[in-house]
Amino acid sequence: MIATTKKPLAEVLAALEGHRRVALVGCDGCAKICLTGGADEVAALAQELKQNGLEVILEVTPERTCNVAKAKPALEPLTEQMQQADALMVLGCGGAVQITRHLTEQFGLTKPVKVGLNSVGHMDTVVPGSMAMEECSDCGECILNETGGICPVTRCAKSLLNGPCGGAEHGKCEVDPERDCAWVLIYSRLAALGELDRLKKYLEPKDYGKAARPRTLLFKEGRVA
């Protein structure tokens, strides 16, 4: 899931300055899970915009706005309505915003597409409706087989690959005493699995070329370009 948080209303209003008629586009995928851009949140923002003198001419929440296969059929029939809008405001991740922009361009619309959320990472929902955490950095070179299924690239504040720094105390990270030291977690997990020997293996520096942006995924070739 791409996790998102809401931008403050003042920032949303500032982004829409000079635009009176607004089309609101949410996302029924990740943003719905994060309680930031599902149909309920789109309706709530519509209310707030109206209270601030704006006209909301459209509210739509595609199943997954970041996926053209879902967003296009949801938005294309609304092209005429979007044509009436001064701007689109998207309550979705940065990807949803840009897919919406791609689509408006395809539909022959030249409209500002604004964002009402901040994207805060690839996260996994741990407590439904309440909490998600970042466990994967999309590095392009997964080492979970070596580390007991716990990612040090993501969960160690320093992304260390060959064991902990000296800063952890009582199993907690030097950066945040509430956070578990990823390497203590990895150690405990590998100990439980009887695989502590894995920790003796030297791990080479990562090939960050595999994470160099922007990446393009070619599905059928199974290749990242």
């Binding site: 504040a157 260390l160 690959l161 720094c165 030097e174 520096p205």
Partner: protein, 299 residues
Amino acid sequence: MKLTELFRQGKFVITSEVGPVKGCSRVNGGPPPEFIQEALNIKDYVHAVNVTDNQSAVMRLGSLAASLLLKQYGLEPIYQLTCRDRNRIALQSDLMSACTLGIDNVLCLTGDHIKLGDHVAAKAVFDVDSVQLLRIARGLNQGRDMVGNALTQPTNLALGAVVNPGFEPLDLQLLKMEKKIEQGAEFFQTQAVYDPKLFETFARRVESFSVPIQYGLVVIKSPKMAKYMNEHVSGITVPESLIKELESAPQGGLKAKAAEITLRLARQMGPMVQGIHFMPLGWSDIIPQVLEGLRGVVN
């Protein structure tokens, strides 16, 4: 001179540490900056002096420039190099720069996290870790960069590393220490330890590693500082009994008490390893008397 040479000669190696200032240190014939003076206080008493690298992620004068300055004043610097602010290109380049400028010793560290410092919005690098840095540095000593390209001239640096004997679980810390040795670490300095039993356990466990180790000792200057270290300095624990002892110091007697405690700890734990690394944090003037008290205890 390389520290490794001193260890090879069987010397009990004494080092200290200075932190560069936050500011330019152009001397221009004037008096040396305070951190150099701090090192000059102990010039005749220590084998070498560590120069910290933007310690605690607080931006300061660079450790390479400060190391070179120490060298110009006749001190042997140990250039600390962290992975926090440099990617693999910068690390290799800085190692070659250090060697080119006459530095003989480098301490390879991960580095404190940016969140602990004064530029919390900075982008952390951590492109490689300290184990990988050691391997890279060893490669440069052998005349190759990390991707295998030949250097016109190899570096010639003694490679140091750090270990925290107070880490729990100790086994995990020792696994990393062994990796550091395998990848090129030639000597170790420990994180500050105040518990002789804990240090003894560590020293026994690492005896078979056959690598020289220096006991790390931060001079505790006041009860307040001890409490601050317990709360804010990662990886260091000052026992309550030591804090009480410092609190019992008479008015104006803190420095004498600090020297007394430093000597006692050095006498207890120094002999368990091959050297002592003092971190006096501005009180380097107590080091000569501490070393006087150590005479005969360590060779």
